[in-house]
Symmetry: C2
Subunit: 517 residues, 2 copies
Amino acid sequence: MTKSTHTDKTRPRLKVRRISLDTGRENVVVISRHSSALRPDVFRGFSRVELRRNSRVLLATLLITDDNGLVGPDEIGLSEPAFRRFAEPAGSLVAVSPAVSPESLDAVRAKIQGRTFKPAEIDAIIDDLTHYRYSDMEIAAFLIGSASFMTTDELLALVQAMARAGTQLKWPDTIVVDKHCIGGIPGNRTSMIVVPIVAAHGLTIPKTSSRAITSPAGTADTMEVLTRVDVSVEEMKEVVAACRGCLVWGGHVNLSPADDILISVERPLSLDTREQMVASIMSKKLAAGSTRLLVDLPVGPTAKLTNATEAMRLRKLFEFVGDHFGIAVEVITTDGRQPIGSGIGPVLEAEDVMAVLANDDAAPADLREKSLRLAAHLLEYDPQLRGGSGYARARELLDSGAALKKMQAIIDSQGPATCRTDVGKLTVDVVADDDGTISEINCLQLNRLGRTAGAPIDKGAGIKLFSKIGDHVEKGQPLYRIHAYDQSELDLAAASAKANCGYTIGPRHPAIGETAT
Amino acid sequence: MTKSTHTDKTRPRLKVRRISLDTGRENVVVISRHSSALRPDVFRGFSRVELRRNSRVLLATLLITDDNGLVGPDEIGLSEPAFRRFAEPAGSLVAVSPAVSPESLDAVRAKIQGRTFKPAEIDAIIDDLTHYRYSDMEIAAFLIGSASFMTTDELLALVQAMARAGTQLKWPDTIVVDKHCIGGIPGNRTSMIVVPIVAAHGLTIPKTSSRAITSPAGTADTMEVLTRVDVSVEEMKEVVAACRGCLVWGGHVNLSPADDILISVERPLSLDTREQMVASIMSKKLAAGSTRLLVDLPVGPTAKLTNATEAMRLRKLFEFVGDHFGIAVEVITTDGRQPIGSGIGPVLEAEDVMAVLANDDAAPADLREKSLRLAAHLLEYDPQLRGGSGYARARELLDSGAALKKMQAIIDSQGPATCRTDVGKLTVDVVADDDGTISEINCLQLNRLGRTAGAPIDKGAGIKLFSKIGDHVEKGQPLYRIHAYDQSELDLAAASAKANCGYTIGPRHPAIGETAT
């Protein structure tokens, strides 16, 4: 005897209605408590339903309403993402039944009990994820089940499955270089300097970047101040053909749709495991067609990595996955004790970047030095270049203005920026509460302040730093300036800075011959 | 320097609006994409918000709408559970800010990484859970993090914390007996026979039962056909004082609010670990003030437990927890290969129960026998009773009509039933598709059919069984009858039964002297 299935014939049908409810990634539908065709009571114990029309199927989470104005008794309300994905017009009749969980969830349940995934199971899970067949809770079950342990075989299968789920780029060159920073450090917009240097040298560097999720700016947000970043795959290829490099938003190119979904659940749960971080990054690099990759791991007390041991473990994992997929991976640790550059927030960071590229005297030296160092590593991938000359070559390309020229070519090629690009005129200065030497800067708190001030949505909101670790300050001297477009957000940021300015001022370093007090 | 906190003064405020959206257990709020006081963009990356008015705080999941009719730019829409729990009138002004996750989630994250919980951490988690401070995803994180392993210390702390979170009953007697079945077997309404027998003998047996979540009836649903079950704690105490026993709905008495919340997430994920099952049951028994407990573990191919090894492991865990908390636990395994009794669904099951209590000739013998056996075990807890005479005493109380009289006293004491109590008049007979002997009955499929026919919401919907394992049937002979109130649901159940009737008919047992073919 066969497994129970309801035929469409006997299923009650409801009329599709679009309801203006943005439910994030999750498909949500609403039916009336007085539904004429389907009693919500029947669904007690099932929180998920299946909508069917012709060959189209949608799994969704069910809510119930008593408001006939929202959803009538013969209707089913589809929230924005559900309506978009089901893609049937309002008024169409659909069959609705309690949803059967995707079969791949059996493997997730087994994993939770301590079993390992087979590669085919990971493929099925990623396929269900990217087709929005998992609820938020089911995604969480996969992530948490995997968080307690993940074997190297599982990790490789996950990278492979995630890379296959979206766009896969191919390039005519065998050497396609890329760089990636795991994030967490305010400012730190090295990619926007490294890419023009490396492209000016002649290597192919098709850089995709992310937008900020919880920080005041991602590279895509900052680059957007200067040029269009939401370009299509075809446009991206044209830019790279013309300039050797580009700086575009990876989300628009759809390199790893599974990663976008996983991250949207990892963030609210603050799950951050090594394996998932490596799977996220390496799946995108694999899909992007990169063959050489430099990974920047900042280490510092308020960075994502707080010590060298953690950094080394992560390095080994990157190398292992890179070796398996034929990507030459080089991992370096960098100083992550404080922000890089003086600006935090898209416009302020873009100003830093352009100042470095223009060899402006006021350009932040730390951003310049770090960018040169990273570019040097990438340039060494060029077999034509004499070993050890990468740094000198990078400096030559920057000092000569070749990198600036390349940046302008990339900007012209990607098209004009369309967002507001002025620095926020509303400002508050945060001052030192004592004399002394700055001993610590809290990256987490500066990220929070920048975000509270309105960045990255308000491009010109953010923070301009006047001092860094080791600088001597007098009581009342401004440490940094908060910029905003909006008074209420400036007030919120100022209040937060008053409670915790993010700077620790230690005793003044004694001058030679002086006695410490 | 202190941790950043926003003062209410600088926070924008929105007007509370109640929106008719039943979001289950989860608090959900809706703001306009054009919110005048609070830009939804700011919440990109935060899916949870905190509402504050005076000293009242509510954590909720945020949705965004473009529909001014639903929520205006100066309003915040509260779904039904959020509105009920926040308990501020429509139109009140509330401060809204991005929510900070409950601190206890740090322990959950550590657990996911392999650490064990400290008892104080479990207390904090259960406190946050029962105050609706966890999102569904966060609850899933706790459950899944605990599912991979749970130490015995963790289990004890969890039972303790869950028992303390709700009502805690105390009884004047030192011997307070209780029984519990882990469920899964259709019919099987032994509690409704065991309680009157044991109470008629004179032992205290204040029985709380659950409603069905995914089955066609729980004991509370079936008892409700005969009497009121949603009684208060005070009323329950009066019934027990008058009758020595009661049969009420545990949900109304609020014995384990944490368990109700955990179950609502376990079900959709189909998580069912031994430790969580034991914590759920034992926390309720501890809160209920039980001192003697009999646990019924049905074992069968389509029961919750499929073999004796699983049953033994579960038994040990019950005994361990019982010993720790001073509850004398006895665990027995029973035949779980098929339904107990002939009715499935509240009204049909209530008829079986009353037939057994009335010593009706047509009463199902299996239900009578199993109930007597369970009652015998419980009666042996009476120190006055001579060892080994429990069964004879149970039988005496049943056969003499003393149990029936006690049941009527309990019914009178709890008050009259208010629901519909007629058997569904719409019926379909499901017949044998061949001659032979019934070799298997699929409990899962019969549960599904009963549910599809409308039970437990339609009290008179369900299944009346005509044959059991070992019975010989001829082709075309009715195996069971599906009852319903509603034609469309009867049709759905009939279609499901056609695809899988749940009965396996093997070759006819050869009579002695005959040769098997």
